[in-house]
Structure formats: structure tokens, C-alpha cells
């Protein structure tokens, strides 16, 4: 049977939709070998991510068991996780002020 979403690693806090998921859908997701249902809060296009746990501002977004960015606002379970609420931590020339990286 075709799945709706995939979690790449047990340590991840996001799942990736492998088909278009509509708001209000109870998406079936396998998390740590358990079949779980997650209420989708916004439309999630194929390939886009949604939270499988609540993630507070400043917390790491984890995919492939690695940090892929940081939450720029509070994200609740079932919300779309993308550029509108995730900051990249790498290659941020826009964060360099007077030659100094403000992240460092």
C-alpha cells in the first residue's frame, strides 16, 4: 500500500509528505515502528514537511537524525515546517555585520 508520509530516522521531529495532504486529514505515519495518526493543520504539498512533535522557537529541526535548521517560531504538531518557520544555520552571509558573524 502507498504511504502518505515518511519519517527518515527515529530521532527526527518532522515527517515528509509523499503525496499532497489536505488540512484536516488524519495522516498515517510510522514513527519509531508505531503506526500513528497525525492531524494535519495546513495543506502539505508532496515533498513538504510537517511536525510530528511540538517544536518551540529556537529548537532544532531534526531530519536524517541531523540538524537541518532552527525553528524561528513555535511549531505545533501537524503544522507545515518550511522556510516560513525554519532558519538555516549555514551559509548565512546575511548574518554577517561589519565582517562579524552574529551567530558566532
Amino acid at each position: 500500500m502507498k504511504r502518505q508520509a515518511i519519517v527518515m530516522n527515529d530521532k527526527d521531529n518532522v515527517a515528509t509528505a509523499v503525496t499532497d495532504l489536505q488540512k484536516g486529514l488524519e495522516a498515517v505515519v510510522e514513527i519509531k515502528s508505531q503506526i500513528t495518526q497525525i492531524a494535519i493543520q495546513e495543506d502539505i504539498p508532496l515533498g513538504h514537511k510537517f511536525a510530528i512533535s511540538n517544536i518551540a522557537t529556537g529548537e532544532d529541526i531534526i531530519k536524517y537524525a541531523s540538524v537541518i535548521g532552527q525553528a524561528s517560531e513555535n511549531i505545533t504538531i501537524g503544522m507545515h515546517v518550511h522556510t516560513q518557520n525554519v532558519m538555516s544555520l549555514r551559509g548565512r552571509g546575511d548574518k554577517v555585520i561589519d565582517g562579524r558573524d552574529i551567530n558566532e
Binding site: 500500500m1 502507498k2 504511504r3 515518511i6 527518515m8 515528509t16 509528505a17 509523499v18 503525496t19 504539498p45 508532496l46 515533498g47 513538504h48 514537511k49 529541526i61 531530519k63 536524517y64 541531523s66 540538524v67 537541518i68 535548521g69 515546517v81 518550511h82 522556510t83 525554519v86 532558519m87 538555516s88 544555520l89 549555514r90 551559509g91 548565512r92 552571509g93 546575511d94 548574518k95 554577517v96 558573524d101
Partner: protein, 385 residues
């Protein structure tokens, strides 16, 4: 694994999967002559470039070495180098001749203009095509293969399906005693820890960290967020949120083997196994370097769809995005959407790629090859004067 394919044995013992006769521009001002020759002589592969004149220092070395590396690629039976003047033409021809294949050169100034150069070049190319046409394919081993892996137009299905499936084949090639090139340095950013852990020595690990730092420092010196250039807008539309996420998916196409070394742009490997190559991410520049390093074939993973192939090394397009395989079927050779949707496992998808790889190495054409969606682009690292 004892996989074999039918290839062309070259005078230096290397093996080609195509039998191209190449007419190669040494600089952009002779591209018209190269095109004239290829319009007169059938079965010639014209390779034209931009720039090549007034380049100096490191930038000039990179151009010359890439041209020589491309000419040496075993998919090429023989080469005619065309330049405006004889010094550059001879330098490149001499470099290619180290591979013991037939090489000739001509200078447009010494021929007396473009029409005369096209006439003399056509006569040389005619003989080269006749000679190459006599060569037969013979059985060759996978250990004689250099596989380049590339991704372009990536989305999150790339990291779920097409990249790991390509990585499965990369592991098979390494296990068979062959070579795999994984390139696109900016797409190691955020995944260096995974790569460095697999480095063959602490020195190689240091090289990996340093190469990524160089890219990141460059992004910082330009004062802008790298997001927008990498990931590009279609990556973001496909669900890739950050460069970290893109990189962690991208490196999977290299498989899981020990990383022998980090090669420079277009550098040939010094042994067997998996090598990283320090190249920009865009496909034309990256694949040009892979081919200059000796790659005979490229597995190209795509999500949103990227049509680019390399004219010298056949490029097999693989996608696990169920929408793209429908909308861009003219540009996708293999469909691994089953892995994305969970109806096919990685080894089933990977074996499909392996089977196609053997066919392409033995002569089957790829879609990019038939459609001519091919481009050479040599990177530039310093301005011309």
C-alpha cells in the same frame, strides 16, 4: 559482484563506453570552426567552451587541465584540438596524447583563416571517424568503471528515493573494484560530519571540513544568505527548506563506502573506491569536472526535474517524484517512485538502476543523449584580464 559490460579498450588500457571522435575548442573564438567541422563530418562530437583566452594563473591551469582531462576521457577514441594559435593548441594536444590515443591539432592563424581551418580540420576528422569506426566492443569489468553521481533539480524525494538508490549502485561499483565520484561541495554543507566520519584518514577528514568552510566563508564574504542560490527556488518549492537538509539527502547518492580522498576539480583518481571531488553544484560545471577526472557514465538523480546531461559521458536520469516522472517523462530514464511511496524497497529500485547502467555502458542511449540536452561548462575561479 561480477558485473561486466561491453566497452571499447583504449591504447592505455582504459575502457570507454562510447567511441566519440571529438573536435575540441581550446578557446571560445574558434567555436565557429569547430561547428563547421562537425557540420561537414558526420559522427563527430563538437565540444565548444566559453573563455579560454586571457585567463592566467590558477584559473588558466583549471581550464587547460580540464580540457586535457576531458580529451583523455576513455569515451573518446580520438581528438582534434582547434585553437586560434598553435601554442595553446599544442599544449592541450600534448596533454591528451599522454593517454596514447590519436590526437591532432590545428591553429586557425596558421591555416589561414576559419574556412581553411574548417577544411583542413574536416579532412583530419574524416580519417579519425573512419579509424574509430573499426573498433569493436569487448567484454570489460565493472572494476574498470568510473561512475560519476550527480543530482539536480532536487527535492525531498531525492533524499528519500533517487539519491539512496543511486548510492546503492555506487556501493556496488566500489565493491566491484571500480571508482565513484561524489561532487558538489556546497552540498556537503550541513553533512560534513557524516562524510568526515567516513574519511580514510584524519587528513582527508580535514580536507573535507576545509573545502566546505571555504564555500561558507565565501557566502559570508558576499553578505547574502546562500539560500536562494542553494537551495535554488525549485528545491524550495519541492520542500527542501535549508542547505543542511539538501546536503544530507544529496550525499546519499555517493553510497556508504570509505572516502579515499577529496580530489580537485577535474582531477583523476589515484586509486580505487569512493572519491569526493571539489566542484560547484550546478550540473553542467560539476559533470564537466567528473568527466575530466575520467568518469565514463553519470547517474543523475532529480526530484523536480533537471534535463542536463554531459555530451561525453552518458547521463542516466532517475527520479522518485511521482509528479515529475509523469510530467517530464521525456527527460527521465528511470522511475523509482515506488521507493518514495513505500511499494518498492531500496534494493529493488537500486537493482533497476544497476541493470540500466550495464545496458548504457554497453551502448544503450540515454534520453539526454538522444535529445542532445548536453552542455560543457568549465568553472572559472578568477577574472580574465
Amino acid at each position: 559482484m561480477n558485473e561486466t559490460f561491453m566497452g571499447y579498450r583504449r591504447p592505455n588500457g582504459s575502457v570507454g563506453i562510447r567511441n566519440h571522435v571529438v573536435v575540441l575548442s581550446a578557446m571560445d573564438n574558434v567555436n565557429g570552426v569547430v561547428k563547421k567541422i562537425s557540420s561537414q563530418v558526420k559522427d563527430v562530437l563538437p565540444i565548444t567552451i566559453l573563455y579560454g583566452r586571457g585567463q592566467f594563473g590558477q584559473d588558466n591551469d583549471l581550464t587547460i587541465n580540464t580540457l586535457i582531462g576531458m580529451g583523455k576521457n576513455p569515451n573518446i577514441a580520438s581528438v582534434l584540438v582547434v585553437s586560434l594559435e598553435k601554442v595553446s593548441a599544442k599544449k592541450i594536444a600534448d596533454g591528451i596524447a599522454q593517454s596514447k590515443k590519436p590526437v591532432a591539432y590545428l591553429s586557425v592563424q596558421d591555416c589561414g583563416g576559419s574556412l581553411e581551418a574548417a577544411y583542413q580540420g574536416s579532412k583530419i576528422a574524416l580519417e579519425m571517424v573512419l579509424q574509430a569506426s573499426e573498433q569493436q566492443r569487448e567484454e570489460c569489468l565493472f572494476s574498470e568503471l568510473i561512475l560519476g553521481v550527480e543530482c539536480g533539480g532536487s527535492d525531498t524525494t531525492s533524499g528519500i528515493a533517487s539519491n539512496p538508490a543511486v548510492g546503492y549502485v555506487a556501493d556496488k561499483v566500489v565493491d566491484s573494484g571500480g571508482v565513484v565520484f561524489l561532487s558538489e561541495t556546497s552540498e556537503f554543507m550541513g553533512a560534513e560530519h557524516v562524510l568526515a566520519e567516513r574519511a580514510s584518514s584524519p587528513d582527508v577528514a580535514k580536507k573535507i571540513w576545509a573545502a566546505v568552510k571555504r564555500i561558507e566563508d565565501d557566502a559570508k564574504s558576499r553578505g547574502v544568505d546562500i539560500r536562494g542560490a542553494n537551495p535554488v527556488p525549485d528545491n524550495i518549492a519541492g520542500g527542501l527548506t535549508t542547505i543542511e537538509e539538501k546536503s544530507l539527502g544529496a550525499i546519499m547518492k555517493g553510497g556508504t563506502a570509505v572516502i579515499q580522498d577529496l580530489l580537485e576539480y577535474g582531477q583523476a583518481p589515484t586509486g580505487k573506491g569512493l572519491y569526493l571531488m571539489d566542484t560547484p553544484a550546478p550540473a553542467s560545471e560539476s559533470m564537466t569536472a567528473l568527466v575530466a577526472g575520467g568518469a565514463q557514465v553519470i547517474l543523475f538523480s532529480t526530484g523536480k526535474g533537471n534535463i542536463m546531461g554531459n555530451p561525453i559521458a552518458p547521463t542516466i536520469k532517475i527520479s522518485g517524484n511521482p509528479k515529475t516522472v509523469k510530467t517530464m517523462i521525456a527527460n527521465i530514464d528511470l522511475d523509482v517512485t515506488g521507493i518514495t511511496e513505500g511499494t518498492e524497497n531500496l534494493s529493488q529500485g537500486g537493482d533497476k538502476i544497476l541493470e540500466e547502467l550495464i545496458k548504457v555502458c554497453s551502448g544503450k542511449k540515454t534520453k539526454a543523449e538522444v535529445l542532445g540536452e548536453e552542455q560543457i561548462a568549465i568553472s572559472r575561479i578568477q577574472p580574465t584580464v
